[in-house]
Amino acid sequence: MAIEVRIPTILRNYTDGAKAVEGGGATLDELIADLETRHPGLRDRLVDEKGLRRFVNVYLNDEDVRFLGGLGTKVSDGDTVTVLPAVAGG
């Protein structure tokens, strides 16, 4: 299991300050569930009952997963997943 997940500053309190962590799974949903076992609380910051949170961007390699398959996006070893909070406001 070696999918690299890059964590933004604001979520590093869930990863003991680590900028990147590793996890496994066949889909983004499974990967996030796997991360949750070692980084409790992280899943809730990424996902709500409707899927990926609206103001969190998740990228598989160079693509926004919203244009791939959302939480169902297939992931595999060697991939890099990047999490970035959306920059937004009113």
Binding site: D64, R66, L84, P85, A86, V87, A88, G89, G90
Partner: protein
């Protein structure tokens, strides 16, 4: 306190004026840990709205990766308000996600005068800070 070069202030204001009445937004990157905004990066407002802004997700990805590669960080994150004062709105506060950034608000509601203010927004708490505009960051410069 935010210390920023006049040329960058002028670029931010020009961007806000150009996109008025829609909100304009962008970043000024700087060397990590320097607290010195040096590289002006205007961003597209994916919402194209007079009341809301959001960075385009793919543009944000590209710019954030570029900053990473250059060992930079978003020292300033700016956006404009086009009908209200340059003070963070409730949505600005709830989506603020870069605790290390200076959040710059520009108001273009007045044709002749542009408000330019800066804030720290951490855990839902807003602190306005002084803005010191300098001609240049050179150590011998006097503002």
């Amino acid at each position: 306190m935010l210390t920023i070069e006049r040329a960058i202030v002028d670029q931010i204001v020009a961007h806000a004026r150009a996109d008025h009445p829609d909100e304009a937004c962008g970043v000024v990157a700087g060397a990590a840990g320097s607290d010195r905004p040096t590289r002006f990066i205007p961003m597209a407002n994916a919402e194209r709205s007079p009341t809301f802004y959001r960075f385009d997700s793919m543009e944000q990805f590209k710019v954030w990766r570029e900053m990473d590669d250059r060992d930079e960080e978003p020292v300033v994150i700016y956006h404009s308000h086009t009908a209200t004062e340059a003070y963070p709105s409730r949505t600005d506060i709830s989506y603020a996600s870069e605790p290390g950034a200076h959040y710059v608000l520009v108001s273009t509601r007045d044709d002749d005068e542009t408000e330019f203010r800066s804030y720290r927004i951490v855990d839902g708490k807003v602190d306005e800070e002084e803005v010191r505009v300098v001609e240049s960051y050179e150590p011998d410069s006097v503002d």
